[in-house]
């Protein structure tokens, strides 16, 4: 169990009402992982949602030819493994602790069960997920189009 005061430090959850945070806190754990701990691997089904309280986590992706690329460095207050909330999705990256890290973890399966038992919680959390995914898709599209617009052939036309 994790107290709601901890959950309020997490950007993804901080605006949710206390009654919802208490429900999420009741099925969450606070865990500490050593440096280099492997949290999950690319192409594995995601089982847990991770909310970083302290430390740092690297998210790496390995390409078809085996090259590894660091996609992101997760800092305290941020959440990853969000697709565990949807079920049936494999991870597009590997998560490794860059230093000793403390995080709140919650099982995706338990969260999905909570959503079905309490649709108000499901509604509130899923709305946040949709807003996040929508803004990510838009940022990517904009950047992709910006790159295209800067292409010499397009600029000359």
């Amino acid at each position: 169990m994790v107290e709601k005061e901890y959950l309020k430090k997490i950007g993804f959850l901080k605006d949710l009402p206390d009654r919802i945070l208490e429900k999420i806190g009741a099925i969450s754990q606070l865990e500490t992982f050593d440096e280099d701990s492997l949290l999950f691997r690319q192409n594995q089904e995601k089982a847990l949602l991770y909310m970083l309280v302290s430390g740092k986590v690297f998210l790496n992706s390995r390409s078809g030819s085996g090259k590894s690329l660091t996609l992101d460095e997760v800092t305290p207050g941020r959440t990853f493994g969000v697709s565990a909330l949807l079920g049936g999705h494999t991870s597009t990256f590997t998560a490794v602790c860059a230093e000793t890290s403390t995080m709140i973890t919650v099982s995706g399966e338990q969260m999905r069960r909570l959503f079905l038992e309490n649709f108000e919680t499901g509604h509130a959390v899923m709305l946040k997920v949709v807003e996040l995914f929508k803004s990510r898709m838009e940022m990517h599209t904009s950047q992709f189009l910006q790159s295209l617009a800067n292409h010499p052939e397009i600029r000359e036309s």
Binding site: S63, V74, T92, F119, H123, H140, S147, L148, A149
Partner: protein, 168 residues
């Protein structure tokens, strides 16, 4: 009013139970649009959610003042206008019928009212929307990774590589 069998053809509503589909069926309308009909306009408020039954819709944005870029085609069974689920959101692209289209539509205002009244309906529809976004994000992340694998020199031009991961 439309039949729930028609709603069952929509991917986003795949997991929505029948008793909720019946609520949506009472509110939904079936519309037919001609070729070149503009269903959504970039930067304008989105107040309709579209579920495509037949036809094809092009999703486009201005690349330069002279050039439009079509970056996706929406086919039957797919939906768009998810921004209508949220108050005050504007369209991030323009959607135009490429051929005569048949679409089930729901008013954004009515969807938001229904979400307030019925959290179960809100949960299932938003879960479907999140799943649709995630699928598209994964496809895009894999495409970008493949491109970077073949052209590593492009990495310096990607300023938001962290956004390939759904980290909040």
């Amino acid at each position: 009013m439309i039949k729930i069998e028609d709603l069952k053809r929509i991917n986003l509503l795949r997991d929505v139970p029948d008793h909720l589909l019946e609520i949506l069926a009472k509110e939904a309308q079936l519309n037919i649009y001609g070729t070149d009909t503009q269903l959504m306009t970039i930067h304008e408020k989105v107040d309709t959610f579209f579920m495509l039954i037949m036809g094809q819709v092009a999703v486009k944005k201005d690349l330069t003042p002279k050039i439009d870029a079509i970056f996706d085609y929406i086919q039957s069974g797919s939906s768009f206008g998810i921004s209508a689920f949220m108050e005050g959101f504007t369209a991030s692209y323009t959607a135009v019928c490429q051929e005569p289209c048949e679409a089930i539509t729901l008013s954004g205002k009515r969807i938001r009212e229904l979400f307030k009244e019925n959290h179960e309906l809100a949960y299932y529809m938003l879960h479907g929307a999140a799943r649709q976004y995630k699928k598209n994000m994964d496809i895009r992340a894999r495409m970008i990774m493949k491109t970077l694998d073949e052209n590593p020199e492009l990495k310096k031009d990607i300023h938001d590589i962290g956004n390939l991961t759904p980290v909040i």
